[in-house]
């Protein structure tokens, strides 16, 4: 079975109205379909691994967002499904994210490890 690396790098685009990140979502769906998946969070998507994200309380007139996204829990769910979730250390440091801020199970990697992750995968889906 081919190893597929899903690279997520553009965060919070449509996540409120979609109630999740569409790339993490499709990664999870394809894992459910039987694929061997891993995920690499880079750029501002490293923030997806931060514990305590809260998008609740959004309202437009009488229409509210009853079920807000909980992306940190989506990351935990992916890890729980056996998807290795990597996050680029330098991108986190740029954004002031400390190791203690992350949900459990995320694997920090250096920028220079990215080429190795690409080489270890049979396909790289760069969303």
């Amino acid at each position: 079975m081919p190893k597929i690396l899903s690279v997520v790098e553009h965060a919070y685009a449509g996540t409120l109205e979609e109630q999740d990140d569409t790339v993490l979502w499709i990664t999870h769906m394809i894992k459910n379909a039987g694929a061997e998946m891993s995920a690499l969070l880079r750029g501002n998507a490293t923030n997806y691994a931060v514990r305590g994200q809260d998008a609740s309380g959004l309202r437009f007139g009488a229409a509210g967002l009853a079920v807000p996204p909980t992306i940190d829990k989506d990351i935990e769910a992916l890890v729980g499904k056996g998807v290795t979730v990597y996050a680029v250390r330098e991108d986190m440091e740029q954004r002031g994210i400390k190791p203690g801020d992350l949900v459990a199970g995320v694997t920090p990697v250096g920028k220079t490890d990215i080429a190795r992750l690409f080489d270890e995968s049979d396909m790289v889906w760069h969303w």
Binding site: E9, A115, F118, V124
Partner: protein
């Protein structure tokens, strides 16, 4: 080792993020991979001779074995003639991208 087709569609002078992809091309080549770096859409801006910083020159220096191609249509759409492209850039048709895409064992990555 392996083969890669890295397609850079973004302008490195607009957002800093494409710099990562140039570094990746270098890192993959350093690991012994054969890398074709294909510039398309706004990704062709560095291919205009005289662009600063000289992203093409930097990549050629850091990773001389990386093959740098640029989409003829994207260049023409932006008024960049073949004569005006930076040294080391192969101006090519979209068919060349397709040829690379269907080569055995070539991993294709879009940015």
């Amino acid at each position: 080792m392996g083969k890669y087709l890295l397609i850079e569609s973004r302008d490195p002078y607009e957002y800093g993020d494409p710099n990562y992809f140039y570094e990746l091309a270098r890192d993959l080549a350093d690991r012994g991979n054969e890398v074709a770096f294909f510039l398309i859409q706004n990704g062709v801006f560095p291919a205009r001779g005289g662009a600063k910083p000289d992203k093409i020159g930097e990549l050629r220096q850091a990773a001389p074995r990386v093959r740098i191609l640029a989409d003829e249509f994207s260049l023409r759409e932006r008024g960049i003639s073949r004569d005006a492209t930076a040294p080391g850039v192969e101006v090519t048709e979209i068919g060349a991208l397709v040829d690379l895409l269907v080569e055995d064992g070539r991993k294709a990555v879009w940015h």
